[in-house]
């Protein structure tokens, strides 16, 4: 697993998220995109959707189950979800630490 693979999943998830968003709220779909950064466009509902889309993509595309809803991440979401790069690093740490999540679904 490397950070580029994870970044691609996040960017693809942003593309999928955009299908549900009004034009003015659509996210940039690039590795440089800002998420919860002050200049970013991601709102709380978008964050929930993005978390689930990324968890599903990690499971289906990279066969890796992660959980982005642990207490530590959600206590300060603006840290991990500042931008695509910070989120990719956060996920890589989870994967490397073997912090398998509680599954992407039921």
């Amino acid at each position: 697993m490397n950070v580029d693979l994870i970044t691609q999943q996040i960017v693809d998830a942003l593309g999928e998220l955009n299908q549900q968003l009004p034009p003015e709220s659509r996210m940039e779909t690039s590795p440089e995109a800002l998420l919860l950064a002050p200049e970013g466009k991601l709102d709380s509902l978008g964050l929930v959707n993005l978390i689930l889309l990324i968890e599903e993509r990690m499971a289906s595309q990279l066969s890796t189950e992660i959980s982005l809803t642990d207490d530590r991440t959600l206590a300060q979401p603006q840290v991990a979800f500042h931008d695509v790069a910070s989120l990719a690093q956060h996920i890589l740490l989870l994967v490397d630490a073997g912090v398998a999540g509680d599954g992407a679904g039921q």
Binding site: V48, N49, A104
Partner: protein, 564 residues
Amino acid sequence: MNDLPVVHGLLISDFNAQNLAGLLDNSPEPPRFAIRHAPFGQVMQALTDPTMDCWQPQPEVLIVWTRPQSVLPGFQRLLENARPGAEGLSAQVDAFSEAVRAASTRARWVLVMTWTLPTYERGLGLIDWKSEQGLARQLASANLRLVENLQVLPNVYVLDAARWMALTGAEHAYNPKLWYLGKIAFGARVFQQAAQDIRAAVLAADGKARKLVLLDLDDTLWGGIVGDVGWEGIRLGGHDAIGEAFLDFQSGLKALKNRGVLLGIVSKNDEQIALEAIRRHPEMVLRLEDFAAWRVNWDDKAANVRALVTELNLGLQSTVFIDDNPIERSRVRQALPEVLVPEWPEDTLYYRRALQALTCFDAPTITEEDLERTRLYVTERQRAAAREESQTFDEWLRSLETRVIVEPLSAVNLPRTAQLLNKTNQMNLATRRLTEAELQAWASEQGRGVWTFRVQDRFGDSGLTGIASLQRERESARIVDFVLSCRVMGRRVEETILSYLAQAARELGARQLDATYLPTSKNGVCLTFWKERSGFEQLPDGEAFRRSLDLPYATPAGVELVRG
């Protein structure tokens, strides 16, 4: 897409449904939606209180999607394995149905989703269907009662949400994280499936259903090249997976035909050899009488599609073209962009599934005329053959022994009348589009009348194929609707309808008949009729017509007008 009129929708749900609204608004496929949602969690208030802001402006489509444990208090008790309460679930379902009924008067179409439960809810396990308290059993019972309550409302349609869950798969349909973090009841893929069916429902309710499937033959309706192997050598049925798949595909097409969709053939083949296969192969499900028309030759398929659609008096936008050959699909798609040309699986075993995935045939009702549609085209072929044998047009008309039966609008003919009003483009004076309820309400006003016309001749019954309406205006009676199916156009039915309207207008006390033609991109033939054959005076503005009722308006020779 940006040229299409916007369909305003109101979404009432007991969960956060912004994802669905976004998918509908953003879709590049028609119709073009502008969806707003009622404050979530206020379902009953939103349904029953027309003064809530969410009802302004009035929506065309109302979408109601709720969870049973939310709108049926007894269901929440069932989830805790408690009894649902003294009044039982039925009374709660009835109360919800009544709220939907009240709301249904404020939208043209109402779409209500069936209730579902997360797939991980097992209820009473082994005895969940055996016990009266079983969750699955109670859910089925509540849904059935809901459907029965709503089926009397002509503009309300129930969509099967359980199907979306099944298509999505349990893992993606429900995710507790979505609920606990965002009060989102379903996964993104469920909303994608729902959005697809909602689009299809609105297109169907708006009379935009596709009506014709044009089919290739070799490797589409059967396996192999009939010109090479003969009808005895094609793969169809038998103890053969591929033969069975073709048989099932034909069976799916037959089911479409039996709900009123026309089938036609466009094939590069020797006509005699191809038709012989259809006539003689013992396992052929589709026979010649199942096809409205065909073009079997070596010409360009796009040209054949266009010619055949014209022959059937349909529009290209009503047509679907199915061919296993990607080059032919590409050719038709490029030449005739209004025709829907679905991508087609390379593997024959997926043909039936690909057919069933098409939502474009969904229609708001299935009338007797729908079920008889193919037969009507077959008799039209016989009629045209008789025309070729007749020396003159008048002789042919007399030989048809046409009867036009007129009946006032009634509860019995209302569904077909609304259907015809909403889908007829060519011989349509005003191109009004009204739901059954709107048409009924319009007709009930003082000084107005709506009549239907059924056309029969010696070849058969063409069914309810004409509509006319009058509105009294001082000394005049105005013809508001003048609608005739292309099936019976040009057989003096038009003049027969006008002769009846002249009688009806006199009975209303009018002294003249007026009509105003409202042009669309498709009703030029109607203007031609009014200018050349109606017997009305064309007023100086060019689109208004008048006839004094002092002049008798005779029913055309050879046509019998009967009051039903």
